[in-house]
Amino acid sequence: MFGITSKTGQLLHQDHLNTIATLQKMEEFLVKQTSKRPPDLADEALRRLIKDLATGIDDEITRHFGFEEGHLFPALAEAGESGMTDFLMSEHATIRPIAQDIGRRSREALEKGFTPESWAEYHTIGMEMIEREVFHIQKEEMGLLAAVNALIDADTDAKLSMIFAGA
């Protein structure tokens, strides 16, 4: 990713950093735990990790995706960049139900714990969500933030960054 000159780009980038940090921790845990061994949810650190994942991913698909789809992508489309935003929207549409599913399963697990079956499913869906979301962020960091730098003027940038900060 290159020098991010726009305020909106910087805020989106910070969001990406936070999301990646949570996803990295979750990925390391899932790989170490394997799909065959349900974890013990009496472990406070693990409960916090699952809670952080559920909260973080919920924030990503509502606030972050919502801002992009409702404000940023239309502004970029107006500036002539609709090809990339259409593609990123289609990725949002793929990620959103998987993220909602993992959020629901996380909350259920925090209440009831995992069975071997529910853990195996959680592991599979969790790994898929992490991979899709990381790949999506890679594309946004390379293409979207560069497009924001290049195509969004200072006034629009100021307006968009205020909307995003207040979202």
């Binding site: 990713m1 940090a21 990295q24 990725e91």
Partner: protein
């Protein structure tokens, strides 16, 4: 200058997959052929540079490196510059000039048919000229990403000189009008490898490595200085070669080592600051390539001083072309193919595939092991003057190239399976 092709993919700067992938697939086939030619002509290498060796080198430089670089930049550069390529049809035309050009050039070199080689060289020159025009057209007025853009401008300038010298040398094969071609050959070789391919590889590294590692880009100022030094080194290398001034070529190699240090520092910095902890197996290729770049320059200096014996220039050329550039391009190709394929592969329910589901790591691991073995054996064989060791190395190289093709075929199969899935 060019008509904008209305058939361009609705996703704007994403070209139809047939455009980049025809280059990638052909490059994988040519790599197998290149190692096979080296295996057949291994005996000739002991005596120095021969037609067979020249054919193997051009199969890699034109058939694999340029072929991959053209396919990759046609697709990736417009994404980075935010300017669509003028016409996918002209991109495809580049392919249809380059591929027969390589085949004729290689056939002419191996068959001792000067006119056939000259025709092949001219066709390849036409392909590269068309590519150069499209490349420059895409770079004009781009002000973002100065490090990347300056490197690619350097690559474009080196390509212009490479094409001019290459066509002159190829035509000389048929017409024999050059009284002294040794200096021109050396200039052509250095500008094509360190110039066009090297500057392009370094420039694209500044886009691709931060993206794959999810890391901030390297600092602008030192890397712009690095690009400037690289261009100065290329100028010195070209002049030194043409004027037969070894001191200038040696100075160019020393500057090149400084460039390699700046570039290496930038790459290590990016990897250290990465957000993505798991980098993937292709980074093994890249790490090896980052070591082989300064190794090739050091070998060049030693060869220039006559410290590597009569096969010194071959050892240097092999480290540079089969070592640094081929290793780097192979690693990059193994990552950008699934990356691009995933963007074109949608199931019936509208889902794109997981990257991990497209990438078959086993063939890639096999490829790397065989490629490393091939490099070590051929280098050892060249150093000792043992043709059988060189041939064995080349056979391992064939195995590695076949494994890479297997990786590509498996990627293709998995994409088709995903498209057919619900």
């Amino acid at each position: 200058m060019f008509p904008v092709d209305p058939s361009q993919n609705a996703r704007g700067r994403l070209l139809p997959p047939s455009v980049p992938f025809r280059f990638f697939a052909t490059a994988m086939v040519f790599q197998i052929v290149a190692w096979a030619v080296l295996a057949v002509y291994a005996g000739d290498t002991v005596g120095g540079i021969s037609w067979g060796v020249l054919a193997a080198l051009h199969l890699i430089t034109l058939g694999v490196l340029a072929m991959t670089a053209i396919g990759a930049t046609y697709q990736l550069l417009p994404v980075a510059t935010k300017r669509p390529v003028r016409s996918p049809l002209l991109c495809t035309l580049t392919y249809w000039l380059l591929t027969p050009g390589v085949l004729l050039l290689i056939g002419g070199l191996l068959g001792g048919q000067g006119m056939v080689a000259a025709l092949g060289g001219a066709l390849a020159g036409a392909a590269l000229s068309l590519y150069l025009i499209l490349l420059v057209d895409n770079l004009l007025n781009v002000k973002e990403m100065p490090v990347v853009i300056v490197h690619i401008w350097g690559a474009a300038a080196a390509l212009l000189a490479t094409i001019g010298l290459g066509i002159a040398l190829a035509l000389n094969l048929g017409l024999g009008y050059l009284p002294d071609r040794a200096g021109l050959l050396q200039a052509h070789a250095l500008l094509a490898t360190y110039g066009f391919m090297g500057m392009m590889s370094m420039g694209l590294s500044h886009v691709l490595i931060p993206m794959f590692a999810l890391a901030p880009a390297a600092e602008t100022r030192p890397n712009l200085i690095g690009a400037g030094l690289a261009m100065a080194a290329l100028l010195l290398a070209g002049l030194g070669s043409v004027l037969h001034l070894d001191a200038l070529v040696a100075l160019a190699a020393l500057l090149g080592l400084a460039v390699a240090a700046i570039y290496g520092r930038a790459m290590v910095g990016i990897v250290k600051k990465r957000m993505r902890k798991q980098l993937g197996f292709f980074f093994t290729h890249l790490r090896l390539a980052w070591i082989l770049l300064p190794a090739s320059l050091a070998a060049g200096l030693l060869a220039l001083a006559g410290l590597l014996g009569e096969r010194g220039p071959l050892i240097f050329g092999f480290l540079l072309v089969f070592g640094w550039l081929l290793t780097f391009l192979t690693g990059t190709l193994s990552r950008i193919m699934p990356f691009l394929a995933s963007m074109h592969t949608v199931s019936q329910s509208g889902r794109t595939p997981l990257l991990s589901a497209l990438m078959a790591e086993r063939p890639l691991r096999i490829q790397f092991g065989l490629h490393l073995g091939a490099l070590l054996l051929v280098l050892g064989g060249l150093a000792g003057g043992w043709a059988d060791v060189i041939r064995l190395g080349a056979l391992l190289g064939i195995g590695g190239a076949v494994a890479l093709a297997g990786y590509g075929i498996e990627l293709w199969r998995r994409c088709l399976a995903h498209i057919r899935s619900a």
